[in-house]
């Protein structure tokens, strides 16, 4: 009876402590988001305006979409460096499909998104079947995708002028009267769908399980290689979607438009509390991370901080985020 007394008392304190510990990174990231937001609101009168907030959300869309896909990959203890240049390649392919080949939008846009899935599929094959470490496999894809984007586009932008409806995918207003660009709505929808898939479906469960203990997952009878390929390919779809959103907004597919986005997206994932060692992470955290990054980019720009210094600040934020993650890990190990 004494034993059961201990049992009933313990879980309450454990639950609270472990909930806070488990979500510490998310709480910190969210707190950081609020602090940064308030800071810029006070520091610059131009920050908290409807048009600026909208444009900030706009820039969150691309980082956020890429980061959501990458969250799945990173939870499996993988990494995807090819998302930035992969996005360039997909955007160029969207231009080829829609502008050069005159494929109608309802087919051309899904094709561009699927092309991202193919990039992910190849990454997944290289990682799962050829057993190439994810860092190297996706680094190779990063270079190859950049090269192909330049080759296919002949190093020149493809303009969507002939297809005005394409731009509306990002910049149109689905909800009439509200000047909220479609792209933001797309990101919100994508985030919700991704969160459901990660938390409520077999795909999500295996994503955590593989990242948590790949060997045990295999011993449980799960075909880990197959699911790794599926997860990379699934994440690739987000590359394709991001490429449509960004090229629709720009009205053109620039063969180098995605450069540097991979690091911003990975930073967003990490700031949001997803562990690079796998097994832990959430879509909500990633969205918060993406907001923090675009908030910093935007706010520092408004305050006329030079681009070079913006990067320094971003670097410091990533360090701080990973450092708190380490502290959390050490506490959890106690």
């Amino acid at each position: 009876m004494t034993a059961s007394g201990v049992v009933t008392e313990k879980p309450i304190s454990r639950d609270l402590a472990s909930t806070i510990r488990g979500r510490l990174q998310q709480f910190l990231a969210f707190g950081g988001l609020i602090v940064i937001f308030v800071f810029f609101s006070l520091a610059s009168p131009d920050f908290l305006t409807f048009s600026n907030v909208t444009s900030m959300l706009f820039s969150t869309v691309v980082i956020g979409t890429l980061a959501i896909g990458t969250t799945f990959v990173i939870i499996t203890a993988g990494i995807d460096l090819s998302i930035g240049t992969g996005m360039s390649l997909c955007a160029v392919m969207a231009g080829v499909f829609i502008v050069h080949w005159h494929i109608p939008l309802p087919i051309g846009v899904p094709l561009a998104i699927l092309f991202g899935g193919v990039i992910g599929l190849i990454n997944g094959f290289n990682v799962a079947i050829l057993k190439i470490p994810p860092f190297i496999a996706t680094l190779a894809m990063m270079l190859a995708a950049q090269g192909l984007a330049l080759v296919i586009s002949h190093s020149a932008p493809i303009y969507f002028d002939t297809v005005p409806a394409y731009a509306a995918i990002s910049t149109g207003n689905l909800i009439p009267g509200v000047k909220f660009p479609n792209a933001v709505i797309v990101l919100a929808a994508v985030a919700i769908i991704a969160a459901i898939i990660l938390n409520k479906t077999v795909l999500g469960r295996y994503t955590y399980s593989i990242g948590s203990n790949a060997e045990a997952t295999a011993l449980s009878g799960i075909n880990v290689r197959k699911w790794q390929i599926i997860i990379y390919a699934f994440a690739g779809l987000f590359i394709g979607l991001a490429s449509v959103l960004i090229s629709a907004r720009l009205g053109s597919a620039q063969p180098a438009l995605g450069q540097g986005y991979e690091l911003q997206a990975i930073a967003a994932v990490v700031i949001g509390g997803t562990s690079l060692f796998g097994g832990k992470g959430s879509i909500l955290g990633t969205v918060i991370g993406a907001l923090i990054i675009s908030l910093l980019n935007n706010g520092l720009q408004i305050m006329s901080v030079p681009q070079e210094w913006q990067n320094v600040v971003l670097g410091a934020v990533i360090l701080a985020a990973v450092y708190t993650d380490n502290i959390r890990r050490r506490k959890a190990a106690m």
Binding site: G22, N213, A216, L219
Partner: protein, 253 residues
């Protein structure tokens, strides 16, 4: 009792090292068989062969008299064979209920299930029922990642998971090595109850006293071969140790 599992002449080589030299093993429905042997005798390798993790180089495995190829852990599971490995093989970031169903997730009925939507509440309920019926206190820890649990609790998760699914044979590789006195008692009681359901339970243990207490039969491995079989009743520790070390059967290695 009917012969459930019969392995004959199992050979397993790793490069130049031969782990199993034509080992035999058998287990009947509803009995607890202890598999003992000194370090390096090939116990763990034999368990891996019989649970589909590694393929034998030679030898036959029969289940209910039919020769089978297990092929993989999944193949072994299809025959109702479950294993608790020494390292437990849990996903530390998932909770106990989630771990219990890894690879066997229940999905919602209809279209949602086709999309792979999990029926989490049903899995939780079934896992909680199983944890309860096995006399563990895991029901109160359903939301904790396994990583935050004690060694004994993790062991309970791993054992409960296997028991939930074992319909024919359950392998337990050193199941009480990390446990305290009370938890060890619980596990041994559990072992008897599972056997009473008609499952053949194979217990790998270094604790001779425990072996004699809980097992019906003891099979002794030495240098990759079965060297002795005992009925637990009427056997003493000296006999077991003698067979393990080769002192008793006189088979000099």
């Amino acid at each position: 009792m009917s012969r459930l599992l019969e392995a004959t002449g199992i050979v397993k080589r790793y490069g130049h090292v031969t782990a199993l030299h034509g080992a035999d093993f058998s287990a009947d429905a509803g009995e607890v068989v202890a598999l003992i042997g000194d370090n390096g005798a090939g116990k763990s390798t034999l368990v891996k062969v019989l649970s589909g993790v590694v393929a034998p180089d030679e030898g036959t495995i029969q289940i209910k008299g039919n020769p089978v190829t297990l092929g993989s852990p999944l193949g072994a599971r299809a025959f109702g064979i479950e294993t608790v490995f020494q390292d437990l093989s849990l996903a530390p970031d998932l909770g106990p209920a989630e771990n219990a169903f890894v690879g066997r997730e229940l999905v919602k009925p209809g279209l949602l299930g086709w999309f792979g939507v999990l029926d989490s509440s049903k899995m939780r309920r079934q896992a909680a029922d199983a944890f309860m019926s096995m006399g563990t206190n895991l029901m109160t820890l359903l939301d904790e990642p396994v990583a935050t649990m004690s060694g004994g609790q993790r062991q309970s998760v791993a054992i409960c998971r296997s028991i939930m699914w074992a319909s024919e044979v359950l392998f337990l590789d050193e199941p009480t090595a990390a446990l305290g006195v009370v938890q060890t008692r619980n596990v041994l009681d559990l072992v008897r109850r599972v056997a009473a359901r008609g499952v053949a339970v194979v217990l790998i243990s270094h604790n001779m006293q425990q072996v004699l207490e809980v097992a019906d039969r003891v099979e002794v491995l030495r240098l990759g071969r079965r060297v002795a079989q005992f009925r637990a009743a009427g056997t003493n520790i000296e006999q077991l140790v003698g067979a393990m070390t080769g002192a008793l059967d006189g088979s000099a290695a």
